[in-house]
Amino acid sequence: MSAHRVAASLPRIGVTIGHTPQKLKTGGIEPSRRARLEVLRRIVTRTVREERVELKWNRAVEARPYVERLIQLGVERGPLDEYTAEMMEWWLPEKDLITKMHEVIVPRFQNRDSPFTSLFRLPPQRLQQFIQNKREVWKRYDIGVLEIDGNPFPAIQAAHQEQSDSILDVLLADALRNHQITLQEKLEASTESK
């Protein structure tokens, strides 16, 4: 049991959270729980600053609940709460971001429940690492895009189209299109002949 209660209960976070914290590569820093938090802090800060960030997929998945929880603290408790202020101060070391959080991001979600962020998977990237004795070493990266909802950028995903994958529908759509094109050709031919 903890020495004193950390946080009064908050609503459930509406995103996938693994049952155990995942290890993250901490380039340069000695791997530890502290280093992991440090990596996550950078990602969270960057996400709040840029509102849409491209990350390695596993890092994006790991950082997403932290962004969610920070926004949730702002929504549920407000900037005057002691615990919220402490957490914001640590997770957003740049002071202007705390102001942005409370004045720009939190008001968007005042009447909404979690999730406040979206995560998209991009096609995997294959990058050249190094060349050793004419041997090229390539590496494949899974890329994710983490964004805070309601951001000013154009949407990542196109608006959903009414479309069926059924073979009958596809053939029918093709047939209709072909029919339309033939009609168009006929029309053009008739206008040319006149």
Binding site: M1, S2, A3, H4, R5, V6, A7, A8, S9, L10, P11, R12, I13, G14, V15, T16, I17, H19, P21, R33, R34, L37, P65, Y66, R69, L70, V75, E76, M87, W90, W91, N111, R112, D113, P115, S118, L119, F120, R121, L122, P123, D149, I156, Q157, A158, Q161, Q163, V170, A173, D174, R177, N178, I181, T182
Partner: protein, 288 residues
């Protein structure tokens, strides 16, 4: 006539995107507002009813087990009045004891721990009797308990007072014939901000590592040998910033609301049956 060019147009432009959670743009109906609407909910529920919380270990949470245990707990609470008490409150427990002539045994002490969830919930009382520290652990739902009284309703700075073992005996000495002090309904629970002086080390546990707020300056009391030893230890103050580690072990608002509405419903049914007027869901601080 088949035209492959036409087939190309049909292809989805977002073929490679897999969206795990589609942003809920259209959602305006909010669960948040509906949570606040339900009347009679207790804000400090997890503190008053730690036995109704879920396990802090995620993969031990089992909805069916919790439901069955909750039924038994509510049934028991209808038979015995379990008052509100916190870690730091002074509690008297009367339990049946076949060894004594009176067949009844009463123990008074400060509550130093409340552990475990569900039917196995335990609390420990501590008192000093003739300069000997005595701790008694009670299972809250054990049928041998006849009566639980809260003699003084208050909180301390910590939610775990195990360090009283290593504190001077005056901090855990309480009179067995203490008069119960009534708590005025509707007022917040007082927090006793007393800081405890520890005996000289060695202690049973290294209290200085966990950030206990109710201990009076452990560093100056420590001997040079301990100071050298503590100098090398791992500082893990940053752990409290791990928001999701806290989330994994804590309960959620939704669960609390669910349990409270269930308790209200149970209470209502029993009251309607006319057998009892006992209230299960109550809080001294938010009494109206």
């Amino acid at each position: 006539m088949f035209r492959p060019a036409a087939r190309e147009v049909v292809k989805l432009p977002t073929r490679y995107f897999s969206c795990k959670s589609e942003p809920t743009r259209a959602v305006t109906a909010t669960k948040k507002a509906s949570r606040e609407e339900i009347a009679g909910l207790i804000p400090a529920f997890p503190e008053i009813y730690p036995d109704f919380l879920q396990s802090p270990v995620w993969n031990r949470r089992n909805a069916l087990k919790e439901e069955l245990e909750r039924q038994d707990m509510l049934e028991r609470r209808m038979n015995i009045d379990i008052p509100e008490f916190y870690v730091g409150s002074i509690v008297a427990v009367t339990s049946s004891d076949k060894n004594l002539g009176s067949k009844e045994h009463r123990f008074v002490g400060i509550c130093i721990r409340r552990e475990k969830e569900g039917l196995l919930h335990q609390f420990t009382l501590r008192n000093t009797i003739e300069n000997i520290g005595v701790e008694v652990l009670y299972d809250l739902y054990n049928p041998t308990i006849k009566k639980i009284e809260t003699l003084k309703l208050e909180k301390r700075l910590d939610s775990d007072l195990s360090y009283l073992v290593d504190a001077l005996p005056e901090y855990s000495t309480f009179d067995f014939h203490m008069e119960p002090q009534a708590h005025p309904a509707g007022t917040p629970i007082p927090v006793n901000e007393c800081k405890v002086k520890l005996k000289n080390p060695p202690w049973t546990r290294r209290w200085e590592i966990s950030s206990y707020r109710g201990i009076d300056d452990t560093w100056t009391q420590a001997t040079p040998w301990y100071k050298r030893k503590l100098h090398k230890t791992l500082v893990n103050d940053y752990e409290k910033y791990d928001l999701i580690a806290n989330y994994r072990t804590s309960s959620t608002k939704e669960q609390e609301v669910f349990v409270q509405t269930q308790m209200q419903k149970f209470e209502k049914e029993r009251h309607a049956a006319g057998l009892t007027r006992r209230r299960i869901l109550k809080s001294a601080a938010s009494y109206k």
